[in-house]
């Protein structure tokens, strides 16, 4: 049984006439890492500030542990935030930064020392406790900011793109390390980012935000492979959409004709023949064949037009007979540009786009 740590009910936020957030409903379970993913300006930082108590919603309710948090100032909320610019106190050294929250809580100094030490060991910063903030590298500063929030054992940890300024390699390392720490502590974290890869690496679930609205919430695999929203599908990288019309449904398998291509997929319960649907197939789910397959469903044919070498894989563009372009991702390519190829995929790799 999952307990709910955070519940947002119909949250809206207006700045004058500008709508920053609209009708946000979201539940976060205890011990999970939920990522709020969205392009810049989508309102994700505002949402995090509302949870932390730095902004009040124009309407709607924030519930943490079944307590209504509206009007409760940040210093009385069981949340803690790791800020985008980290917001380390420049006049205090590392130890004093980390112990800040504990000192405010009037904890005895021996206990403070013990707690700071153990959290510093968890984050591998026990050797730099007496350094000044200005002497820290980017990665160390991240760890100090995280330690400062973790040490007060918040019910919910809020992270506002904390890995933004780090270089790619360090970022990848930190993502994995943060995820490990979160799992070990079995803590509830809400992570904000605009990087879909980071979101996939770190999260249990992802909520995709656009222009102040949540488009879709789901676990990582579902939201990547079977998105229900077109924007969400595109946000995770270039993909293939088909506008189709359902011809028949048999044994839960729908057959749709999509501009000379016939696609079969697992039907939803309320679908019926004659419905117009948008289908999506991820580029890496598509196989390239030289010879025509024996069946004529889930097959397309066309000419290989463009290949971009990406290192671990190749991005391939195929021009179909109806002059539509399909994107295919493959780790090898035994064909030459201009060659005639067949494309094929499986029923279960087809996603139905609803919005």
């Amino acid at each position: 049984m999952k307990t709910t740590s955070l519940r947002l009910v119909n949250i809206s936020k207006l700045y004058g006439k500008i709508v920053a957030l609209q009708d946000i409903n979201l539940e976060v379970h205890r011990g999970e890492l939920l990522t709020i993913l969205g392009p810049s300006g989508s309102g994700k930082s505002t949402l995090l500030k509302i949870i932390g108590g730095f902004e009040e919603p124009t309407s709607g309710e924030v519930w943490i542990n079944d307590k209504l948090m509206n009007g409760v100032p940040p210093y009385k909320r069981p949340t803690s935030m790791v800020f985008q610019d980290l917001a380390l106190f420049p006049h205090l050294n590392v130890f004093d930064n980390i112990s800040y929250g504990l000192k405010i809580r009037k904890m005895p100094i021996n206990e403070i020392k013990k707690k700071v030490r153990s959290i510093a060991e968890l984050l591998h910063i026990e050797d730099i406790l007496d350094r000044r903030i200005t002497q820290l590298s980017g990665g160390q500063a991240q760890r100090v900011a995280l330690a400062r929030s973790l040490v007060i054992e918040p019910e919910i940890l809020l992270l506002d793109e904390p890995l933004g300024p780090l270089d790619l390699k360090l970022r990848r390392e930190m993502q994995l390390e943060l995820r490990k720490i979160q799992k070990n502590l079995n803590a509830t974290w809400i992570y904000v980012t605009h990087d879909h890869e980071e979101a996939m690496v770190m999260s249990d679930r992802i909520a995709v935000l656009k222009a102040g609205r949540i488009l879709e919430v789901g676990d990582v695999k579902q939201i990547y492979e079977k998105p229900k929203n077109k924007f969400v599908a595109e946000f995770f990288g270039e993909t293939n959409f088909f506008e189709c019309r359902i011809e028949k449904i048999e044994n839960g398998i729908a057959t749709a004709s999509c501009n000379e291509i016939i696609i079969q997929f697992n039907a939803f319960r309320d679908m019926k023949p004659g419905d117009e649907v948008t289908l999506m197939i991820r580029p890496e789910k598509i196989k390239l064949l030289k010879n025509s397959p024996t069946v004529n469903v889930n097959v397309a044919e066309g000419y290989l037009r463009e290949v971009v070498y990406k290192g671990p894989h190749l991005d391939i563009k195929i021009e179909l007979k109806n002059s539509k372009t399909m994107f295919v991702r493959s780790i090898e390519l035994p064909y030459r540009i201009g060659e005639h190829v067949y494309l094929t995929w499986r029923d279960e790799d087809v996603a139905v786009i609803i919005e």
């Binding site: 803690s80 800020f83 006049h91």
Partner: protein, 290 residues
């Protein structure tokens, strides 16, 4: 590097550029300073008499002679008092302008606050006559309202007048640096402190005040240091009040004891240097230049 060849001596160009100002400073600053130092160790008599014999009596007098010692002590206490009053008034103003006003609108008010500094210092002091003086605004108003029959004299030619004028005079020098330092504190620091459990009062004492110490330090140097050498304000509105600055001018110009006046000048200089040193040490100015 550009060099000018002058026979066999090579002089770097930047040294050459420095020579005119060095010569100027040497003639009009260093030589007078050295003369003051030298004079302060000579024996002085009344009426500009100077006996060129080494002595420490001019300095010792500040510890032994009660009048001189009191002047030194009171000047310091008064300068400190004025500094604290200025900070108490200036801090809320600077805080309001820097933190509570939207965007850059505070800066326009800062410019208004700085504008009186364009006016001559002495004229600004004289202007206070019209407010504090026997026929000034305050006395006339109080008499018109029937609160008093006789003009209040404690307002003018008194130590209170010095405090009022000096505080008014010092305000821009405190508001401006405080505004600058308060503006430079990122908002996220306040948020982070609140996030970690600080209420507004605790945020002020743990974050805002320590981080605005550089501004307070600069205000201290701008207010305390000139005040220990101040002679115009006491002379013009201070009545019988006698500060270190007046002691120096009187000793130089009226009594004519140049060695003692020089020693008093050295006192001002040493006090200023100590103040600057202590302030920079205590406030840790280094993180101002992060």
């Amino acid at each position: 590097m550009n060099r000018i060849r002058f026979r066999q001596i090579r002089i770097p160009l930047h040294v050459l550029y420095g020579i005119p100002s060095l010569v100027y400073l040497f003639i009009f600053f260093y030589i007078p300073m050295i003369m003051i130092v030298v004079y302060s160790f000579w024996k002085g008599g009344p009426l500009y008499k100077v006996i060129r014999v080494f002595t420490l009596e001019n300095y010792v007098r500040f510890f032994v002679d009660e009048l001189s010692r009191n002047v030194l002590v009171w000047t310091n206490l008064l300068a400190l008092l004025i500094f604290f009053i200025v900070i108490l008034i200036a801090y809320p103003i600077a805080y309001f302008l820097a933190r509570l006003m939207k965007g850059e609108s505070g800066l326009k008010i800062i410019l208004l606050i700085l504008m009186p500094l364009e006016m001559n210092y002495l004229i600004r002091i004289f202007a206070w006559r019209n407010i504090l003086g026997e026929n000034g605004l305050i006395n006339n108003t109080l008499m018109y309202l029937g609160v008093i029959d006789q003009p209040l004299t404690m307002l003018f030619h008194s130590i209170y007048a010095i405090i009022i004028v000096a505080v008014h005079n010092g305000l821009p020098y405190a508001i401006f640096p405080l505004y600058i330092t308060l503006r430079s504190i990122p908002k996220s620091l306040y948020d982070a402190a609140m996030d970690l459990g600080s209420n507004r009062i605790s945020v002020f004492f743990r974050i805002t005040l320590p981080l605005s110490m550089p501004g307070i330090a600069i205000a201290f140097l701008f207010i305390y240091v000139p005040m220990i050498g101040e002679f115009a304000i006491p002379a013009l509105v201070g009545g019988k009040t006698y500060l270190l600055g007046n002691l120096i001018t009187r000793s130089f110009l009226e009594i004519g004891n140049w060695p003692f006046a020089s020693a008093a000048t050295m006192n001002v200089l040493i006090l200023s240097l100590i103040a600057i040193f202590v302030v920079f040490k205590l406030t840790g100015m280094r993180w101002l230049y992060r």
